[in-house]
Symmetry: C2
Subunit: 459 residues, 2 copies
């Protein structure tokens, strides 16, 4: 029986014999008694195992060290302690896998920096039990939301030769032997010898491929790993992360915002419902007020405001900005914070200056802005970015050329506008940013099982 099953059916099992297998998180020994803080990792709560010196293996049991795996047979009994609904009166405690004295994870507070160096053991700590459970549950919430709402899940390719977002931001992949590269007549590496017969990359987005499916299935989403080569060592950058990219046919910018808001509330509510103990823990030990913030989000109405209006508000504010707000430019972190504080909740900012946004976004009638939208949330800044896509072939091609996109390589994408094209929109959400928002964790390295950052690809 798992810890989770036992907690779910604690009453039915009272005074019954159960067999458990899991790990010793802590072990307090007294002369006649011993208490094992026990967990098999199936739920956040631990179980207290009590044994006494009537067991003939008492002395052996007392030697069991923290980190060891054990098998426990015992009776479920009511606990004298208020904070636990039951405990196990052990009839048998058997050592399955020993653990040495110098085991790095001891029942004390370890710094997150230390735990990053023990990446393969940190899932055994309370903090990472909470974080990675929330990560798993939020993943499922996303699938659940989209599948219930009739979206198709698409596995867009990771390896690509289409140089859409700029290959300088993409990892090259190759099967060639780097130490023995053959050159072509021009003295360049002969990529025709590579497995795909040309240079290939791992992608930074599945959007373009996603659009081809939206124009066949109406509503689709992707959810998969994404890569950026950014040589940036900040709390919010990783070179490998997961992204969700929904794309919806016959949907304009207003419709897109409806979906973003509905989806986010669903995920947050689902996580609150499924992970109460984990959220409680994060609220207590990671970010005070986390739970309240999440509950508030579900009930709130998201503000919708244009980029121009945002700049107006920022300019009127009696604050000495580090970065002066500008109608032609992106907004800075300090502005994001001010705006979400100003409205006391999440804010959709729409209609951005076209020069700072991507080539595939729909040009507005003013010919100055694009129908793009960023969602800013209190505490985490930009959580999603989306846009209506340019559905007019000529306009799109002109803009692509202007911005140096290889229109030949993406001719199939452009063709979508020729073959029954339609108004359509999509957005991207960085999954790690969502998990940081759901847990209060401030460093992206602590929400990814094995983070990859510049100079750091251990394990």
């Amino acid at each position: 029986m798992t810890n989770k099953e036992l907690y779910e059916k604690a009453k039915e099992n009272l005074n019954k014999k159960v067999t458990l297998q899991g790990w010793v998180r802590n072990h307090r020994k007294q002369k006649e008694f011993g208490f094992i803080d026990f967990s098999d990792g199936t739920c956040f709560k631990h179980i207290q195992i009590v044994y006494d010196n009537k067991l003939k293996e008492f002395d052996e049991i007392q030697k069991i060290r923290v980190g060891s795996s054990i098998l426990v047979e015992g009776k479920v009994v009511e606990s004298p302690k208020e904070e636990q609904p039951f405990e196990i009166q052990a009839k048998k405690v058997e050592l399955l896998g020993d653990c040495p004295e110098d085991y790095p994870i001891q029942p004390k507070k370890h710094s997150r920096e230390f735990l990053r160096e023990q990446a393969y053991l940190r899932p055994r700590t309370n903090l990472f039990q909470a974080v990675f459970r929330i990560r798993s549950v939020a993943s499922f919430a996303i699938h659940d939301y989209f599948q219930k709402n009739g979206y198709l899940y698409v596995h867009t390719p990771l390896i690509t030769t289409a140089d859409c977002e700029g290959s300088d931001q993409m990892f090259k992949v190759t099967t060639l032997d780097l130490n023995h590269l053959e050159k072509d007549e021009e003295g360049k590496v002969d990529l025709s010898k590579d497995l795909f017969g040309k240079g290939s990359y791992i992608t930074g987005s599945g959007q373009l491929h996603g659009e081809t499916f939206a124009l066949a299935f109406d509503k689709i989403y992707t959810f998969g790993p994404t890569f950026r080569t950014e040589n940036s060592n900040t709390k919010t950058h990783a070179n490998e992360f997961w992204m969700i990219e929904p794309e919806i046919a016959f949907c304009d910018l207003e419709g897109l915002m409806d979906i973003e808001e509905d989806m986010l509330k669903y995920i947050v509510q689902f996580t609150l419902d499924t992970c109460p103990d984990e959220i409680e823990f994060c609220d207590k030990f990671v970010e005070n007020g986390l739970k309240d913030r999440l509950e508030k989000l579900v009930k709130s109405n998201f503000t919708r405001i244009t980029h121009k209006e945002v700049i107006d508000i920022l300019k009127k504010a009696k604050i000495k900005w580090e970065f002066e707000p500008n109608y032609e430019e992106d907004i800075a972190k300090e502005h994001e914070k001010y705006i979400t504080d100003y409205f006391g909740g999440p804010v959709f900012i729409t209609n951005w200056p076209k020069d700072i946004k991507a080539w595939y976004m729909k040009i507005n009638p003013d010919n100055k802005t694009v129908a793009a939208v960023d969602l800013e949330v209190p505490g985490a800044g930009e959580l999603m970015g989306g846009s209506q896509r340019e559905e007019l072939y000529d306009v799109l091609v002109e803009r692509a050329k202007k911005l140096g996109v290889d229109t030949e390589a993406v001719s199939w994408y452009l063709n979508l506008r020729k073959y029954g094209g339609c108004v359509h929109s999509g957005f991207g959400m960085g999954f790690e940013r969502l998990i940081m928002y759901l847990t209060g964790i401030e460093n992206i390295r602590d929400v990814i099982p094995y983070p990859r950052t510049p100079g750091n690809c251990d394990y």
Copy 2:
């Protein structure tokens, strides 16, 4: 309203006005009437739109070509045709996005080879509407199964420097400029200049990382893309594919088979329940008897038999084999087929000769075989491969060294056996193979949205 919603609530909507947006799949014109075969891709079934010359745009509507996107306003009425529960009597048909005469996807049978070349348009055909819907639904079934059963979903890293399965089978990833590689003192490429400071790869398996989470969360699964550099152009090989890799602590080989059987039946039943029209179509146009085969699987008991027993049976069979069955060797495709026919259903083959299996598999007491299991299913051959993992540190290290594994690079993995190790097991299932099994499709290129095979990385 989407097609799906309309089909789900056809009766409630009878005689009501609805607005639909989608694409023209076919268009039959008569003097006084027109019939548009209409689909928005949200469900497999199309909708018939009927319009007549009482509409003042009648002549305009008649010009609408196959592939165009349209908006339809009309009344839901009972259909005179038996095979459709309703049709739409159009009050308005508006062209949203035109489509030229030479649109590649016409209402006729296209060969799958042709459609592979039109990869971005083939999702608009009935076959690929069925295949990719089944792919999406089966994905969800997998998440649903594991989440309901208390497993943690883990995103194991794709970029890795741990050379576990042999780097010759892995793609190298780099941010270095291949045309200007700096060399170190030994004349080799200086990988310390690369983003991670050393050579890195995209992984062929998340298993080793998965095990570290199983020993913290008890039951985990991965579901993500995987890569192999195999230069092989067969119907069953792709260089990029998706894998599911569950890993379970305190679980032996028998327990593992229970899980594999239970999971597969769940996925198949879920797909049968959720995609009746798609399965029906595949049964009719891809593989006759498909539905029956799937329904039979759910009700069957999977045979469990050792590799030795399989070879005994094969040797006794009065068949002239192309490959002679051998107690020391793997079995061939012809043997797999014979065995599943022999038992009339899925067969677990256990206890394989250790010399043909991986280094991390549990050595059996006979010291000749390992506690590995392959699941063979009628029609698709090997669908899953798994094993109990060697949990004894010394035995594992010795075997790793013998097989040339860099024990330094995987010391963290080996350490799992030191720090509260336990009996544990896991398996891998190639997702595309599952989809081929669920649809009857014989070529892996036809179950992947944008397949990557040697020399083929278009789109």
